[in-house]
């Protein structure tokens, strides 16, 4: 009965691994929230950061994170969906398609700092956009593009072929079929993927260090002209995001309450990632349910 004993020991060992994993993960999340949430107040969220004095907040950083996220998604979503449609619907099995697939794979596995370096070289220096929202958003677009491409391709491929045939059988053209049959059917999957990737973009830091910069001007929230240098909307101003702020507070800042600010920022960041994740799941499931037609 040696095999029985080995079996039992292995089962215990595997279960211990799983238990350990669960424990570590819960401890991590617990630690982030326990350390940080105490410091998160309305005041903290709505006060500007301070370089020298205790009591700085994260108002501008929070705004920058969201603004950058939105600009990035405006670039990425149409391009990524177009790429996904190409790979799933238009691509013929030939060399060009293989090459595009390789490109997506390369972009997906590049370290984000490499994307940041490229952004610095091309957008910041060559195009003279400087450290700016625009440079950051384009760099993040490169970083996020492969994710949306894959999500779209997978979602389109999981649409039953019968639907496509039904539309083609009516003499309907490919693009009209994609637009009116395939994309609506794939919508829940694509939406879930986009929201999940938004969480990733929201927390990204290394690609932004050399593109959006480590500082931002004191934003004037009364001036919404995109051309004013201190306008929140100006796409050509530098913008420190929340995750970059966590990094910079720990490495360059000299304020006494840096640990608290960092911990609280991390908690806010993790909270938003959690919200993105849960809403992606919830929304995807809800639309799926509504679309399956028991209305």
């Amino acid at each position: 009965m040696k095999s029985q004993i080995t079996n039992r020991m292995a089962t215990v060992l595997i279960s211990v691994c799983a238990g350990l994993m669960a424990l570590i993960m819960i401890a991590l999340v617990g630690y982030i929230f326990y350390q940080g949430l105490g410091h998160v107040t309305w005041h903290f969220l709505t006060t500007v950061a301070s370089t020298f004095q205790v009591g700085g907040g994260i108002k501008d950083q929070l705004w920058n994170s969201f603004y950058l996220l939105i600009v990035t998604m405006i670039f990425t979503t149409p391009l990524g969906i177009a790429g996904g449609i190409y790979l799933s619907e238009y691509a013929k099995p030939n060399r060009v398609t293989g090459f595009i697939r390789s490109c997506v794979e390369v972009l997906a596995s590049l370290p984000s700092i490499v994307v940041g370096l490229f952004g610095m070289l091309v957008f910041v220096n060559t195009f003279h956009w400087g450290y700016s929202i625009l440079s950051g958003a384009v760099a993040l677009t490169i970083f996020n593009l492969p994710v949306i491409v894959r999500v779209t391709e997978d979602a389109l491929r999981s649409v039953p072929v019968a639907l496509k045939e039904a539309s083609f059988g009516l003499g309907v053209g490919q693009w009209y079929t994609i637009k009116n049959v395939l994309l609506p059917a794939a919508f829940p999957g694509i939406l879930t993927g986009i929201i999940l990737s938004a969480g990733r973009v929201f927390g990204e830091s290394a690609a932004l260090l050399f593109t959006a910069g480590l500082t931002s001007p004191d934003l004037d929230f009364k001036n919404w002209s995109p051309f004013a240098f201190d306008s929140p909307l100006n796409p050509l101003r530098s913008a420190e995001t929340l995750s970059v702020h966590i990094y910079s507070v720990n490495t360059v800042a000299i304020v006494k309450d840096a640990p608290q600010v960092a911990a609280a920022s991390a908690a806010v960041l993790a909270l938003f990632v959690l919200i993105f994740n849960l809403s992606a799941r919830g929304l995807g499931a809800w639309i799926q349910k509504r679309m399956s037609g028991k209305s």
Binding site: C17, C103, L107, P111, L117, L121, G173, W175, Y247, L269
Partner: protein, 324 residues
């Protein structure tokens, strides 16, 4: 084209247009681009997206390669010296030296060490999720793991800085910075990644394969060890390699805990450096065009080359898993 529409949709009338004319392709002119629901316009938009993907990848590769080669082409640094020398002091105005080996060593050390601690727990968890309790695995563990995949790396770095480093320092590990906290932080970070990919791979093993093994009287462990792991091996390795690729390219989380000293560390708790940490540390404050700056781009080139190598390894593994 409006001419024949009317007749086509009135059943009673004899079609005014011959079958030949109805079925013949119409000559397309530039106007189709401006029509609503133009097939051509849709196709062009899609192709534009595809071309942009190629453009981004190719230009990124070319620009970074060119930029990374400047140190060797214009500053006369020997590439072999760059890779194998321990002496890194590019800031010295009199005798700058460009030996990147300590950073290359640091990057590889972090990559392998973190994979070493993450792999057993991750694969174990994946086995639990697919072989021991799918219900718990899919209902409880999977969502938690997927959320953790999305936790930003700076948050992991911060945990390293505020929790792990003080702990190490307190238990006699000097000031606490070095490879040890680096590998723990990165290990924690890649654990969810490896687990979720490995669990997918294990769950896609056909049930018949397992049933056949159980039918022969094999225990669960024998089935896992003799059937499941061999069948899933290429995919499991892919999971680990993907984790390692992420570890190799991680910048800020490592930056915050490794200490950033460009020497080969004597122990796990001596400050060290990696390619990414030196780039993040100095890229912002070197003059572009200087040899120091070029040296940083060359470090970036190594990162780029390594990520291509990781892709090749993954391709090799995925070909293996298709054969099986």
């Amino acid at each position: 084209m409006t001419l024949n529409k009317g007749s086509l949709f009135s059943m009673s009338d004899e079609p005014a247009v011959s079958t030949q004319d109805r079925l013949r392709k119409r000559r397309q002119n530039i106007n189709v681009l401006f029509r609503r629901d133009s097939e051509l316009r849709g196709k062009l938009a899609i192709y534009f997206g595809a071309i942009l993907i190629i453009l981004a990848t190719v230009s990124l590769t070319l620009f970074l390669v060119w930029q990374g080669l400047r140190l060797f082409l214009f500053d006369g640094v020997n590439p072999l010296h760059f890779i194998f020398s321990n002496d890194w002091n590019p800031g010295d105005s009199a005798h700058p030296t460009y030996g990147a080996f300590p950073m290359i060593f640091g990057s590889f050390a972090i990559t392998f060490l973190s994979a070493l601690i993450a792999t057993p727990i991750s694969i174990g968890t994946a086995l639990f999720m697919s072989e021991i309790s799918r219900k718990w695995g899919n209902k409880a563990l999977r969502p938690v793991i997927e959320i953790l995949v999305g936790i930003p790396s700076v948050v992991y770095g911060l945990i390293g800085l505020t929790l792990i480093i003080p702990f190490i320092a307190h238990h006699g590990g000097g000031i606490g910075y070095g490879l040890l906290p680096g590998m723990i932080v990165v290990g924690l970070m890649i654990m969810p990644t490896i687990t979720s990919i490995a669990a997918d791979a294990l769950q896609s093993i056909p049930q018949e394969l397992k049933s056949a093994s159980y039918a022969l009287g094999a225990t669960r462990w024998q089935t896992i060890y003799k059937v499941i792991i061999p069948a899933a091996l290429p995919s499991l390795l892919t999971a680990v390699v993907l984790g390692m690729a992420r570890a190799f390219g991680e910048a800020l989380a490592v930056q915050m805990v490794i200490g950033n000293v460009t020497d080969i560390p004597h122990s796990m708790v001596n400050p060290a450096a990696t390619l990414t940490t030196i780039i993040t540390l100095h890229m912002g404050n070197t003059t572009s065009g200087s040899a120091f700056n070029h040296a940083l781009w060359s470090l970036g080139l190594i990162l780029l080359i390594m990520s291509y190598i990781f892709i090749l390894i993954i391709r090799y593994l995925s070909r293996r898993s298709k054969v099986l």
